[in-house]
């Protein structure tokens, strides 16, 4: 279905950047319609999962009590203007299911993921989805290219346990643009018998925080003010220019600087174990929990590899998702940051965890509160 707006968009693109014409080349849905022998999954049990917006995750079992099933999900692609910081900076965003990042999906190894992907007629652009967890067909991207007003259903088998990124990849320069406009999320495929520590002993968590990190590239006008655009199409040319400089204007968690601080800070208590799933679809990052650690970290996110213990900072490669398990031992405010501190403090990549409970003086105590100690102690070396 070609709406008038879509047609206008097309014209705008050609005028702005002739290179956009190659967009058709990489993800052509017709030619990729699979022709292999049908798999009979008629007797496979099915269940439906309602997705939940990040940083939270839908209810799920950690150790599966059921045989493998077809797990049905539905996501609607929503193009909308979003606020990316507290200064009111706006971006023409593109989202899976209305949130940046898209929702975290959880299944078990051996399950089939069956996603209905809807591109409503109000949207301007073609979209699709590439699951790093899926095998073949450009991760599903080749089978899922939907125009505004279309929907598609993709099924793939969850063969590898771990946390994986999914993102939109509609071809050519549309790929990075859609991704840095917000179109990424993650899926967690748990081993059927749950997570294991480095000695292969079972471990579990009380809750999951899903942290999706995004790098945004918002153009500025001649006055140094962030520009605001009528629609995604009109933002494209200026945005690509900033993108190609590779210096983001914003690096944020959950779609906005400050999205997970203050009233929206994450909550926990002493003794509680959290699994922090961290995805970055485009750019390297290095999570660090200030005042805490990663007790067990699957840095690359793949659960068939034993986790590392006691990490201070872990590395999430651009285009991947990792997982860290941590039990809070001390009350207070924790900052969960991208430990490029410029990105954390100045560009936005900071979340807070507010932890209640009893203070453990054995772990930490203030032996002497800050007090003046007098001029006589100032080292002579400190003199200019």
């Amino acid at each position: 279905m070609i709406t008038r707006r879509t047609a206008l968009m097309g014209a705008a693109f050609v005028a702005a950047a002739p290179a956009i014409a190659v967009q058709k080349a990489s993800a052509d849905s017709e030619s990729m319609t699979p022709v292999g022998a049908k798999v009979d999954l008629a007797n496979m049990p099915r269940r439906k999962v309602e997705l939940v917006a990040p940083p939270f995750v839908h209810a799920h079992e950690q150790v599966s009590s059921q045989p493998p099933a077809i797990v049905e999900f539905e996501m609607t692609i929503i193009e909308k203007e979003v606020e990316v910081d507290d200064d009111g900076t706006m971006m023409q965003g593109m989202t899976f299911d209305g949130s940046i990042p898209g929702p975290l999906m959880v299944v078990h190894e051996g399950d089939y993921v069956e996603l209905t992907l809807i591109n409503p007629p109000e949207n301007l652009m073609q979209h699709n989805i590439d699951f790093h967890a899926a095998t073949g067909g450009l991760g599903g991207g080749a089978l899922t290219l939907v125009n505004p007003g279309e929907k598609t259903v993709l099924r793939f088998k969850a063969t590898r346990p771990g946390t994986f990124v999914y993102h939109c990849a509609p071809g050519g320069p549309m790929i990075p643009w859609h991704v840095v406009s917000g179109m990424s999320g993650a899926i967690m495929i748990l081993p059927r018998d749950g997570l294991k520590n480095e000695k292969n002993e079972p471990v579990s968590y009380d809750k999951v925080y899903y942290i999706g990190e995004n790098d945004f590239y918002i153009p500025k006008d001649e006055n140094g003010d962030y520009m605001r655009f009528e629609d995604a199409g009109s933002s494209y040319g200026d945005t690509v220019e900033v993108m190609n400089g590779l210096i983001p204007t914003h690096v944020v968690f959950n779609g906005k600087a400050g999205a997970l601080t203050g009233d929206n800070a994450l909550k926990s208590k002493v003794g509680e174990t959290v699994l922090i799933v961290h995805s970055q679809a485009n750019r390297d990052t290095r999570p660090h929990l200030i005042g805490g650690h990663g007790d067990l970290v699957w840095e690359t996110g793949k659960f068939n590899n034993p986790p590392e213990r006691d990490l201070e900072t872990w590395f999430i490669r651009g285009g991947s998702a990792g997982a860290a398990l941590y039990t809070f031992r001390q009350p207070g405010v924790y900052a969960y940051v991208n430990h490029n501190l410029i990105e954390a403090v100045n560009l936005g990549a900071t979340a807070h965890v507010v932890v209640e409970g009893e203070w453990d003086n054995d772990l930490m105590a203030q032996v002497v509160a800050p007090t003046a100690y007098g001029d006589m102690h100032i080292s002579k070396k400190a003199l200019p």
Binding site: T261, G262, D263
Partner: protein, 290 residues
């Protein structure tokens, strides 16, 4: 009592205050509108951090006397007014973007910028101008002053309790803040007829960060530390900001709501002895001459 760094900073800053006003009065700089705040008693929630037996505690309320009336600017210094100082190379550029409206309060101002402006305006008008102290500001603010005490008893066994309480308090404040800079007068006047106090532009004061301890009966002990590299900006809450910072926004470890915007207003300091006396007192204390 004070580190070399602080003493040096103080020397630089005091230079600004004590500079002579030899420059001829310029006709094109009009005197700003002023409000006279009369003398009186002030129930002052002390600024800075207080420790009781080494544990963070609420600051005491001190009954202090404001012995003289003083004149304070009715409005915050405007973009237009500040630009004149910049144009004469007497003030650094404000950080805020170039699309600021001339008749709005100037923002993106550091303590240094505000001090530069006071010096420039003093020279231009042949009247002594300076930043208010935190005592003066809070007294002038009256009902607009926001008490930053947590109202919680200190708990030596669990330092996280006050910390979490403070976090929540600042989170609540932050959610109520409005963003764009508003025209002068938009936040209304207080009972003294002073406009826009505790709006969304915080105002620099001359007061340094201090850490003090209080004894068992709540009396402030005289063994505190002052750090004049950090000054108080007053507004919806008291903010302690490094003197050269123009935009206090931050995340990371700095937990708590930062000021939305940094601006200032000045007090007129030509009443005999009073203002200079304060400065001299402060300067003496910096040199350790009590």
């Amino acid at each position: 009592m004070y580190s070399i760094f602080k003493a040096k900073t103080a020397a630089v800053l005091s230079g600004l205050y004590l500079a002579t006003t030899a420059i001829v009065v310029s006709q094109e700089v009009p005197l700003p509108e002023l409000v006279t705040v009369s003398s009186g008693m002030h129930q002052y929630r002390a600024s800075g951090e207080f420790l009781r037996s080494g544990v963070p505690a609420d600051a005491p309320v001190l009954a202090i006397s404001m012995p003289r009336s003083f004149d304070i600017m009715k409005y915050q210094v405007s973009v237009d007014a500040y630009r004149r100082c910049v144009a004469e190379d007497a003030c650094g550029e404000a950080l805020a973007n170039r699309s600021q409206k001339p008749d709005h309060p100037v923002t993106g101002i550091s303590f240094t910028n505000a001090s530069e402006y006071a010096q420039w305006l003093s020279a231009k008008t042949n009247v002594k101008w300076r930043l208010p102290t935190d005592e003066e500001w809070s007294y002038a603010a009256g009902s607009r002053f926001v008490d930053d005490s947590l109202g919680a008893k200190e708990d030596p066994a669990n330092p996280s309790l006050r910390w979490l309480l403070k976090y929540q308090k600042y989170a609540d404040l932050e959610s109520e803040q409005t963003l764009p800079v508003k025209p002068h007068g938009d936040f209304g006047a207080n009972e003294n007829g002073i406009y826009d106090m505790s709006g969304n532009v915080w105002e620099w004061t001359a007061t340094c960060y201090q850490r003090s301890s209080i004894d068992a009966v709540g009396k402030v002990k005289a063994d505190g530390t002052a750090n004049c590299g950090v000054r108080i900006a007053e507004g919806q809450h008291r903010a302690y900001i490094t003197y050269f910072v123009q935009d206090a926004k931050g995340g990371g470890c700095s937990v708590g709501a930062p000021p939305t915007h940094l601006g200032f207003r000045l007090v007129r300091d030509d009443k005999t002895g009073y203002g200079l006396g304060l400065i001299n007192q402060w300067w003496d204390s910096m040199l350790g001459r009590d």
